[in-house]
């Protein structure tokens, strides 16, 4: 049984049909990526799974249970965390407070334990734990956003454009960390415009175009696919 199963999902912004019958699955332990150009409906799909947007029709099942109609703040206790597009760390809160918010539904003991895990993984965050998040660099904020999502001990972590706006050296680091999260036992659903990077770490990928899934395959298959190369990998 798939961990996450999305079937025939339709999402509208007012009268704009942003996601048109998208279906995909994520198996436990996988890294799955949704790639596609701007406006393909990738982020909309993630935000709908996370409960921030409402689907017009279609189903979302997580571990066999329907997620339709469940509010966003209940998702994290189901084991789903979303690291949102544009990082959205709490600028006025310190690094440490941001991490505490990530473990909002956890007990203090669990939060302390996860904080040690996050600080081990991101020593920079430990150094800057008492600094306001707004004073961090873009790369550090991305790490904080990922650490914050990890704090809830999610079974499924969804990451929306984690490499956006980062220097190439940091992009590599971010993807290395995604692999580490996965090896720690977290299933990953990744949305990226940086298709070559995403496909190189992903077990499987789905290509979205204007709200539809147009192609699917393993990461390595899609990396050498002619259409995908032409459209997203610069030839």
């Amino acid at each position: 049984m798939a961990m996450l199963k999305v079937t025939d999902l339709n999402v509208y912004y007012g009268s704009i049909h942003a996601v048109k019958g998208v279906s995909f699955e994520v198996q436990e332990g996988e890294i799955v990526t949704l790639i596609g150009a701007n406006g393909a409906g990738k982020s909309t799909t993630l935000n709908t799974v996370a409960g921030l947007l409402k689907a017009r029709s279609g189903s979302v099942e997580f571990e066999g249970e329907s997620l339709v109609g469940i509010p966003a703040h209940k998702m994290v206790s189901k084991g789903i965390a979303l690291c949102p597009e544009g990082r959205r760390v709490f600028q006025d809160l310190t690094v440490r407070e941001n991490l505490e918010m990530g473990a909002f539904i956890r007990t203090d003991a669990e939060a302390t334990e996860m904080r040690t895990v996050v600080y081990d993984r991101f020593p920079r965050l430990k150094e800057r734990r008492n600094q306001r998040a707004g004073t961090l660099s873009g790369g550090e904020q991305q790490m904080l956003a990922m650490g914050r999502a990890l704090m809830s001990k999610p079974k499924l972590m969804m990451l929306d454009e984690p490499s956006m706006g980062l220097a190439p050296i940091l992009v590599q680091e971010i993807f290395d960390i995604i692999k580490v999260f996965n090896e720690m036992g977290t299933t990953v659903l990744l949305v990226e415009q940086n298709a070559s990077m995403a496909l190189s770490v992903a077990d499987r990928g789905y290509v979205l175009e204007t709200g539809r899934v147009v192609k699917t395959g393993t990461g390595s298959e899609l990396l050498v696919d002619d259409d995908v190369r032409k459209a997203y990998l610069g030839g």
């Binding site: 709490f90 006025d92 505490e100 999502a149």
Partner: protein, 293 residues
């Protein structure tokens, strides 16, 4: 000695403004709305305390506690019934609703308690303290007011920086979507802020009426508007800003009354608002908001 007396009165009045302004600023911070009914919650708090002391004969401490509980419930109910359905509505609709709630509370009070001003008995039955051979008189209620304001500021600061719910409140104020992703129930958090703000309004109402003992359905309006002014001067959304703005405004008002003229005092208070907004549009301790392009 006149100067010192005026200063004490100013700080005391300013403390009341500060307590009211805290409610305005916290609600604005999280709900991004100006709750113009906040001033009328003060008036309700005053009436509850008055009835508990005069009609029911309860001791002042119990009366004040009843007043806090009553206003806290009122705040939660008003938010649930009037503002929550408008969460996604344009801010103008919410603003007009808040003015509507204000009229509703005032007129309900008029129906229930009548238009006659009630003579509010101070919650403290102590003689004034005389210092320097009677040259300086300090009323105990002034000291209690200032102490209450300081205690509330310390309490709120600890709450927002040390407790999980306080931090969640700050997280919600900044980004509701991201807060939801953390598992924070935004609606509950907004209710909590309305509850705190209205409880503070009750305290302010009791303190205000103990110093200026006339209670009528419109008692809360002008202090409400002045506290709103104080919140804007301090920087709306900022908790230390509300305290600073409140105390400054109280001092300016009392000094204007003492040295310039009673009639002009309110005009001077609002003139200060205009000047501050011209020089520092975000308020004294407010943050400049950069529009994202």
């Amino acid at each position: 000695m006149g100067f010192i007396t005026n200063m004490i009165n100013g700080i005391s009045l300013g403390s009341v403004y500060a307590i009211i302004a805290l409610g305005y600023t916290m609600v604005y911070g999280i709900a991004k709305m100006l709750n113009f009914a906040h001033g009328d919650v003060i008036m309700v708090g005053g009436y509850i305390c008055f009835i508990a002391m005069n009609n029911l004969g309860l001791p002042p401490v119990v009366a004040v506690l009843l007043s806090i509980v009553g206003c806290t419930c009122l705040g939660i109910v008003v938010e649930r019934l009037a503002y929550k359905p408008l969460r996604e509505a344009p801010s103008l609709a919410v603003l007009i609703t808040a003015i509507g709630v204000s009229y509703f509370l005032q007129n309900t009070a008029l129906l229930v308690w009548g238009a006659d001003p009630k003579a509010f008995r101070s919650i403290l039955d102590l003689p004034s303290i005389k210092l320097f051979n009677g040259q300086l008189t300090v009323s105990p209620i002034s000291l209690v007011t200032v102490a209450a304001c300081v205690a509330i500021m310390v309490g709120l600061t600890l709450f927002t920086t040390r407790t999980k719910m306080g931090k969640a409140m700050r997280a919600c104020s900044e980004d509701k979507g991201a807060a939801q992703l953390m598992g924070i129930n935004v609606n509950t958090t907004i209710s909590m802020v309305f509850a705190i703000g209205s409880g503070l309004a009750a305290i302010a109402g009791v303190l205000l009426c103990s110093t200026y003992p006339t209670l009528m359905p419109t008692t809360g309006s002008l202090p409400g508007i002045k506290a709103f002014t104080a919140a804007v001067i301090g920087g709306i959304g900022s908790i230390p800003g509300a305290a600073l703005g409140g105390v400054l405004l109280g001092i300016i008002e009392i000094f204007a009354k003492a040295y310039i003229g009673t009639q002009l005092a309110d005009a001077i208070v609002f003139a200060v608002l205009i000047v501050v907004l011209l020089i520092r549009p975000a308020g004294l301790l407010g943050k400049e908001i950069h529009e994202k392009v």
